[in-house]
């Protein structure tokens, strides 16, 4: 379990392609073990997540792919300590997850910037909450702003920005206090298709420089394949993981990879999985376990 971290959390550029994908020696950042979530309203019990297990290595970018309402967001929120776990166990950096901690950054579907604060103030909001030295982090915030292409917008208010720009600010806000792990809950799903692609690229740019462990929830197949080192496929309720595939494209990821035949092949395969998952989920009794066994590594 305790293995030396792949790299220091010092956030410097390590242009070591495939570091997160190849290395079997990297420590486990997130360990999810038999996690279930049951919403019990008293009148009825809904199983949102049922018996999900997986590990995420340090420095790895993992996407959880599944149809809307399949419980993947609930799973992510449990990893962030924002939802209680009904049974099972989530360990983050070896410590059981019971409540939120600042070493985990969360990005939500909605940028939800504070409307009365400027871009810079919004990005520095976590610093204020965590009572860290403002002056020190202002510089970091400014470099993040430059990196996501918001230079010159530091003093604008959220209502003066487009949806994509707001989500860029949210990326900066999630990274400014340097969390070890980044949890992203469909952060681009509210954006139009073109902006969405741009945001994917912006996220790749920034992630390849800061390399955090990342767990990214999405219902977009292409987005998952474009961004992630590994894709976990979830089916609809009760939500289980039916596939765990490794994406063979290295880092830094070529931006034109989405045009390659291999990319499309993976997308087609994932789509067929999700579609058969639908049928299977309806056809089988709950608790039968995954339709496909995980472990088809290196597709």
């Amino acid at each position: 379990m305790s293995v030396a971290p792949l790299r220091t959390v010092d956030t410097q550029i390590v242009p070591d392609a495939g570091a997160g994908t190849e290395s079997g020696t990297a420590g486990t950042a997130i360990s999810v073990d038999g996690v279930r979530k049951i919403y019990d309203t008293g009148r009825e019990r809904t199983e949102a997540v049922s018996g999900v297990s997986f590990d995420v290595k340090r420095g790895e970018f993992v996407a959880i792919l599944g149809p809307s309402g399949c419980g993947k967001s609930t799973l992510l929120m449990m990893c962030g300590g924002l939802e209680s776990i009904t049974s099972g166990r989530i360990d983050i950096e070896g410590v059981a997850m019971t409540q939120p901690r600042p070493s985990i950054g969360v990005m939500f579907q909605d940028a939800s910037l504070l409307p009365w604060k400027t871009v810079l103030e919004n990005i520095l909001f976590p610093i204020k909450i965590l009572k860290r030295p403002m002056a020190e982090y202002t510089e970091r915030a400014r470099s993040l702003i430059d990196m996501v292409g918001l230079h010159g917008f530091e003093d604008k208010k959220p209502h003066q920005l487009s949806g994509g720009m707001r989500q860029r600010v949210a990326i900066c806000r999630a990274l400014v206090y340097d969390p070890d792990i980044l949890l992203m809950d469909e952060p681009f799903s509210a954006l139009d298709a073109i902006t969405r692609d741009e945001m994917g690229e912006a996220l790749l740019d920034i992630w390849e420089q800061y390399t955090k462990t990342a767990l990214f929830v999405t219902h977009s197949i292409r987005e998952a394949v474009l961004l992630a080192d590994r894709v976990l496929v979830m089916t609809r309720r009760p939500a289980t993981i039916v596939e765990d595939i490794r994406i063979p494209f290295g880092r830094p990821r070529p931006r034109d990879v989405s045009g390659s035949p291999e990319f499309n092949e993976i997308c087609v395969y994932l789509r067929s999985l999700i579609e058969s998952g639908h049928g299977a989920a309806q056809g089988r009794r709950s608790g039968d376990g995954p339709v496909l066994q995980p472990g088809r590594r290196g597709a």
Partner: protein, 273 residues
């Protein structure tokens, strides 16, 4: 500027030559329209009273009211001072109490569960009907008028602020939780700023309710104030005096209302900066 001989010639002129005056008018339409409407009502009022020789006791002409207002200005100002100060005091107390109570209800869910339904039910009581009780409880002087005005203006503040505090953007609250923010941090850095527009909305309503409260209380017991002046004028069948007092009440109301708007601007600029 020549006009083309065209069926829509006027329209073309309109677009081609927006004179400076016309542009000014268009820019200030929001002011011009209501003022013009009010002025035309006054003019019609004046014409009707003169033309139909309506008795002064029934409806005095605007010109008479204006003249009466100016000649009695010192007395009216003195009465306005009484009413205005009591209304201001009541408004400040109601705002402080209402905001505090709303804050407590937001911070302690149990307090909200206990108080909120009761507040809503209480809100339904026609509060003016209780005015005589305040005389019985607190006597015939300032304390009873003040208390009654506070009673009138307190509810808009507490209800509006409570709505504001419970309408905080849920994702922002989640963000705070993900940062392990303390309850105090979340309250003052996220919930209160989100609730401020609601608080000021409640305060704007409270400012008018406070004046109503004081005037009603003055109707019941007072030796000065605009409510007293109205009652006094009416007992002497001096209708023009009632209208003068009403005009003065409008001015007092506008001043208090304006003060709230100004305060909102200042708070937005400082607290939310």
């Amino acid at each position: 500027m020549s006009i083309t001989a065209n069926s829509s010639g006027a329209a073309i002129l309109d677009i081609a030559a927006p004179s400076r005056v016309r542009r000014l008018i268009r820019a200030n339409m929001a002011v011009i329209l209501p003022v013009a409407t009010a002025l035309s009502v006054l003019i019609v009022w004046q014409i009707v009273t003169v033309a139909f020789q309506i008795p002064r006791v029934i409806l005095p002409a605007p010109s008479e009211i204006g003249a009466h207002f100016l000649t009695n200005l010192p007395a009216l100002l003195n009465h306005a001072r009484h009413t205005g100060l009591e209304a201001l005091g009541a408004f400040v107390l109601a705002t402080a109490a209402g905001a505090t109570l709303a804050g407590l209800m937001a911070a302690f869910p149990l307090a909200r569960e206990i108080l909120q339904p009761n507040l809503v039910a209480f809100q339904l009581i026609p509060k003016i009907a209780l005015a005589p009780m305040f005389i019985i409880w607190l006597g015939i002087d300032t304390p009873s008028r003040l208390a009654f005005a506070v009673f009138m203006s307190f509810f808009p503040v507490v209800i509006s602020t409570t709505v504001g505090l419970s309408n905080t953007d849920p994702v922002s609250l989640r963000l705070c939780r993900s940062l392990a923010a303390s309850g105090v941090q979340t309250f003052f850095q996220v919930r209160v700023p989100f609730a401020l527009p609601y608080l000021f909305n409640g305060m704007r309503i409270a400012s008018t309710m406070a004046i109503i409260g004081v005037v009603v209380a003055e109707f019941i017991s007072s030796r000065a104030g605009l409510g007293f002046y109205i009652l006094y004028s009416s007992s002497r069948m001096e209708t023009v005096g009632i209208f003068s007092a009403l005009l003065m009440l409008c001015i007092v109301g506008l001043v208090l209302f304006g003060a709230v708007v100004l305060a909102e601007r200042i708070v937005r600029r400082t607290y939310l900066a």
